[in-house]
């Protein structure tokens, strides 16, 4: 347990550093899509929910896990979809149309 804790703390700390370094450099142009993207990535929690629902250890855990999958999946699908939609809109200027 203790080594697990320490390991998890290392991973959290290192990921936090990366987060600050990387996100500070995201162009302010893209702050709205950034929010929807991190939202979609965060929905990786679906992985835990799938195990809960699939391992079927108790009725409660299966029910909660199933609802959790629905919630997370909708974030994954909706989040990536809208992020891509927004990003597609960002175009650099070209030579003016004829």
């Amino acid at each position: 347990m203790k080594t697990d804790l320490i390991t998890s703390l290392y991973v959290f700390m290192l990921a936090g550093f990366i987060g600050f370094e990387v996100i500070r450099r995201v162009s302010p142009l893209l702050h709205t899509p950034l929010m929807s993207l991190t939202n979609a990535l965060d929905a990786i929690a679906v992985v835990g929910a799938i195990l809960l629902a699939g391992e079927h250890k108790s009725t409660l855990s299966t029910v909660l896990g199933t609802i959790a999958i629905v919630a997370a999946t909708s974030n994954v699908v909706g989040g990536f979809f809208i992020t891509d939609r927004m990003l597609k809109m960002f175009k650099a200027s070209r030579s003016p149309k004829p």
């Binding site: 203790k2 990366i18 302010p28 929807s36 990535l41 990786i44 855990s61 919630a71």
Partner: protein, 466 residues
């Protein structure tokens, strides 16, 4: 987890690769040219992780998993298709969903493991469900206010802060007790229910217009609760994703608080009991000059350099497509048109950029505050469309102003200033704007969409262009 089976190793490796892809995903968001690769990297990472999980030999029944995945997709698709103007409330809603998932998993894990939950595990589990529940209801409330289902004005009562802090303290106290005595299973629902209530009460006193700050903060909380879930499940992937999300929300909140010149603690504690500053009386007596669409069109056509400053009013009026027509028309005439975007213009960070990009305005014409401010002295016309506070020169000059010190767009340095808004009404900060009384300023009263439309008609009619 310590099995030597190669399936387990394969799963672990998919997670490792997914983690790397998630990091690259955010890295590529640094510029609009690579941002879509970022989305693809994220999608690939997600696909790998989910596929890897489905390989897990502990899964005995795929039925519910499959049903839930399909159902989630069915809900997700329309959430991905909302209008650009509805993005703030969509974001709030998805925070709620993310937090819901985390809370439910945490609850299930508790009941599966109780009463033998080691102390450290119980601490992170409590953190997971407390943060998860308050983010869930808080985000729902925020979405409701943004969608204008709920009343947008702040609802306050005496002793509100004490009640709210008391609830938070109570849930942390119960959690601490559970950490020491995890066999008292009946206490667990308390650390679910109180934070759920707290989430609601936390948002009640905050005005609708303050929601974006709240959303970013909730973004950060959602990330932290997911990271806590990663600690509980010993999933490095989840810890990394949660930490990245937490960092992102925090950075956006800090950016916003800086751009609004509000202290970070004010933001961090959810801007409890933030009060709107009353409009000072008496300014109505001062004279302003107003102009018609024809006059405005004439001035714009004669300019050689125009900077358009959009704000919240452009978003509510949905005027971005008319603005695009104006941009096209002026550009065709050889006028140099740029956009000056303040970091908190509108109601969400980056809001203006997305709306203008939606209307097909090239992103290299969208300059942020630091880039554009040097250009105003050489600008013929600064055209402000539904923006107010972000152009208020009192922030620079009047130390008694509530927004004193907030960095603003220096539109008053342009040769002529034109302001499209419906009235002399105030903006989000509720204060008067001395800009409107300058000699160089022309007020263009009307709805943003209609007024810009009228200008475009004038310009097109005047020379037959289109």
């Amino acid at each position: 987890m310590t099995s030597f089976l190669s399936t387990d190793l394969i799963i672990e490796i998919t997670y490792l690769v997914a983690t790397a892809l998630f990091i690259l995903s955010l890295k590529w968001m640094s510029s609009p040219t690579t941002a879509r690769h970022g989305v693809w990297a994220g999608e690939l990472g997600m696909l790998l992780a989910v596929a890897g999980t489905l390989l897990n030999r502990g899964i005995v029944d795929y039925k519910w998993v499959a049903i839930a995945l399909v159902l989630g997709t069915i809900i997700g698709v329309p959430l991905g298709k909302v209008q650009m103007t509805a993005v703030p409330q969509r974001t709030a809603l998805s925070h709620a969903f993310g937090a819901l998932c985390v809370t439910l998993v945490g609850t299930a894990e508790f009941y599966l493991r109780a009463p033998n939950v080691p102390r450290f595990m119980m601490s992170v589990l409590s953190m997971e469900v407390i943060l998860g529940s308050l983010t869930f209801t808080g985000s729902l409330m925020a979405a409701g206010k943004l969608q204008e289902i709920l009343p947008q004005r702040p609802i306050t009562y005496k002793g509100q802060n004490i009640v709210n802090l008391g609830m938070l303290a109570a849930s942390v106290g119960v959690a601490a007790y559970l950490v020491m005595h995890p066999d008292h299973l009946y206490l667990f629902p308390i650390i679910l229910v109180i934070p759920l209530l707290f989430g609601v009460m936390m948002i009640v006193p905050i005005g609708g217009a303050d929601m974006p700050t709240v959303i970013s903060l909730l973004n950060s909380y959602a990330g932290l609760s997911a990271a806590a879930m990663g600690f509980v499940l010993d999933s490095k992937l989840l810890i990394v994703a949660g930490a990245l999300d937490g960092a992102s929300g925090l950075i956006l909140s800090v950016n916003m608080s800086k751009a609004m010149n509000r202290s970070f603690s004010n933001v961090l504690f959810g801007a409890f009991g933030q009060e709107q500053v009353a409009v000072k009386g008496g300014q109505e007596t001062r004279a302003v000059r107003s102009a018609t669409p024809e006059e405005a069109a004439g001035i714009l056509a004669a300019a050689s350099k125009v900077v358009i400053v959009p704000g919240y009013g452009m978003a509510v009026a949905q005027a971005q497509h008319k603005v695009r027509e104006l941009y096209d028309n002026l550009t065709k005439r050889g006028v140099d048109v740029k956009f000056g975007i303040h970091p908190v213009a509108g109601r969400m960070p980056g809001h203006m950029n997305v709306l203008l990009a939606e209307a097909d305005i090239p992103y290299d014409k969208l300059l942020d505050m630091d880039e554009i401010n040097g250009e105003f002295p050489q600008t013929d016309v600064a055209l402000i469309i539904g923006a107010n506070d972000v152009t208020n020169p009192a922030a620079r000059t009047d130390s008694s102003s509530p927004i004193f010190g907030m960095p603003i767009l220096d539109v008053d340095k342009a040769r002529t200033v034109m302001v499209i808004k419906r009235s002399m009404g105030t903006g989000f900060a509720g204060i008067d704007n001395p800009l409107y009384y300058l000699d160089k300023t022309l007020m263009l009263f009307g709805d943003a969409k209609n007024f810009v439309g009228a200008i475009v008609r004038e310009l097109s009619g005047g020379d037959g262009h289109g």
